[in-house]
């Protein structure tokens, strides 16, 4: 469990282009940050840097635990949940297989996975192949995964886009619960989130 994420003077480059420089942000336990910015500003890139996929060209990313900074790579494997533009679900497999695998892989178990599915209202869909799910159902499946295993930091990339109004409200509730339990959320969004958040803009 971590108590804060500290981003200091971060600079990220993609290809030949520096997307942004001197980006600083601190997220404490129980806090949610909505990341906004134009298309191509670098929201996804920032999330990927936090998750450890991109190496920043300058600045630092620190995961702070109860006793100070943690080794970043270990911390990531223990605390990060990510739902990106690509959801990592295999079209040819059943929703149940995918959910249970992904829950277990991040430290959850089968009952937790089924409970998460129930929570998101997709129990009925679990025996379908992922390929036949509607866009919103599929996103709910991806979100069920992060409910199924408790990890402190949620990195979400436009999590609500394909969801209907009821599901958005539900995800709002789930986010609130996560924050109340000391979790953190960093979400890249174009539309406002259904919870109270601090908004941070990325400018190139």
């Amino acid at each position: 469990m971590i108590s804060a994420l500290k981003i200091e003077d971060l600079a990220i480059q993609r290809g030949e282009r520096v997307l942004f420089r001197n980006f600083s942000l601190e997220i404490a336990a129980g806090e949610a940050v909505a990341l906004i910015g134009a298309n191509g500003a670098g929201k996804t890139s920032l999330l990927r840097a936090v998750a450890g996929f991109l190496r920043p060209i300058a600045g630092s990313l620190t995961f702070i635990g109860a006793d100070g900074p943690l080794p970043a790579d270990d911390a990531r494997r223990a605390v990060c949940h990510m739902v990106g533009h690509q959801d990592g679900l295999k079209p040819g497999r059943r929703a149940r297989e995918e959910l249970i695998f992904q829950a277990r892989w991040t430290g959850g178990d089968e009952p937790a996975a089924l409970a998460a599915a129930a929570r998101l209202g997709i129990t009925r869909l679990l025996d379908l192949e992922v390929r036949v799910l509607s866009a919103g159902q599929r996103r709910r499946l991806a979100l069920a995964r992060i409910i199924a295993s408790p990890r402190a930091l949620w990195l979400l990339d436009e999590p609500l886009a394909p969801l209907d109004a009821a599901s958005r409200a539900l995800v709002g509730t789930l986010m609130t619960e996560h924050l109340d339990g000391g979790g953190m959320i960093l979400a890249a969004v174009h539309d406002p989130l259904p919870i109270a958040v601090r908004t941070v803009e990325i400018v190139g």
């Binding site: 990060c80 690509q86 959801d87 695998f101 892989w105 991040t106």
Partner: protein, 221 residues
């Protein structure tokens, strides 16, 4: 169930679906073996002389089938990102993928190989060595193929690259295996060739996961 077991089960089932698993590889292999006498015409003696060697080559090719997609799907659909955030390092994930590939295609192939070779007229005495060579060689093929597949991830010309990258690396085990089989059948000393093959396969198993993980991280960034 440990998380490693969870991963192994998933990769096995994906490997099976991906390449058609055992059935495709073995079917392909048996079909090739059946076609061989058909296309040579019935001349048992001619065939028998080369059956072990031909079997070995066809086998090495069959085990390359669908290798190229080992990482591509996971990369394209984002599953590789999720795997990277799990408890086991990508090196282990890569090794498990290759082992799964080997289990669903290499292992069945190495059982089919001696049968096919003998059916084509190889001396039955050679069968055990064909099995050993196929099993060890298959291991090397799976890990080298995986390396090529991972390296090609970041590029626009995946397939070509895999060929250019992997084929040279495959040559040594093919040579070692071929030598082991023919020496064994001819009652010549075969220990060196088998040891070399085993050493090469083990080196692949031990070293290429690092290359694969590095290549995957590079593509993800």
């Amino acid at each position: 169930m440990t998380v490693l077991m969870v991963l192994i089960r998933r990769e096995l089932s994906l490997a099976w679906a991906r390449g058609g698993g055992a059935l495709l590889a073995v079917g392909f292999f048996v079909a090739a073996a059946v076609m061989l006498p058909l296309s040579l015409g019935p001349a048992p003696a001619r065939l028998a002389a080369v059956s072990a060697g031909v079997t070995w080559v066809v086998l090495s090719l069959a085990s390359l089938l669908s290798l190229d997609r080992m990482f591509e799907r996971d990369f394209d659909d984002g599953a590789l990102d999720l795997l990277a955030l799990g408890p086991l390092p990508l090196e282990v994930v890569a090794a498990v993928k290759c082992l799964a590939q080997w289990t669903v295609s290499g292992a069945p192939l190495s059982i089919a190989a001696p049968v096919v070779a003998v059916a084509l007229g190889a001396r039955p005495e050679a069968a055990p060595m064909i099995f050993v060579a196929a099993a060890l060689g298959g291991l090397a093929f799976a890990f080298l193929g995986g390396t090529g597949a991972a390296l090609a991830l970041a590029s626009r010309r995946g397939g070509v690259l895999i060929a250019v990258i992997v084929l040279p690396l495959l040559t040594p085990p093919v040579i070692f295996g071929g030598a082991a089989i023919s020496n064994f059948a001819d009652r010549l000393p075969w220990i060196t060739a088998v040891s070399l093959l085993a050493a090469y396969a083990l080196a692949c198993v031990a070293l290429t996961p690092f290359a694969m993980a590095g290549a995957c991280r590079n593509a993800q960034s």
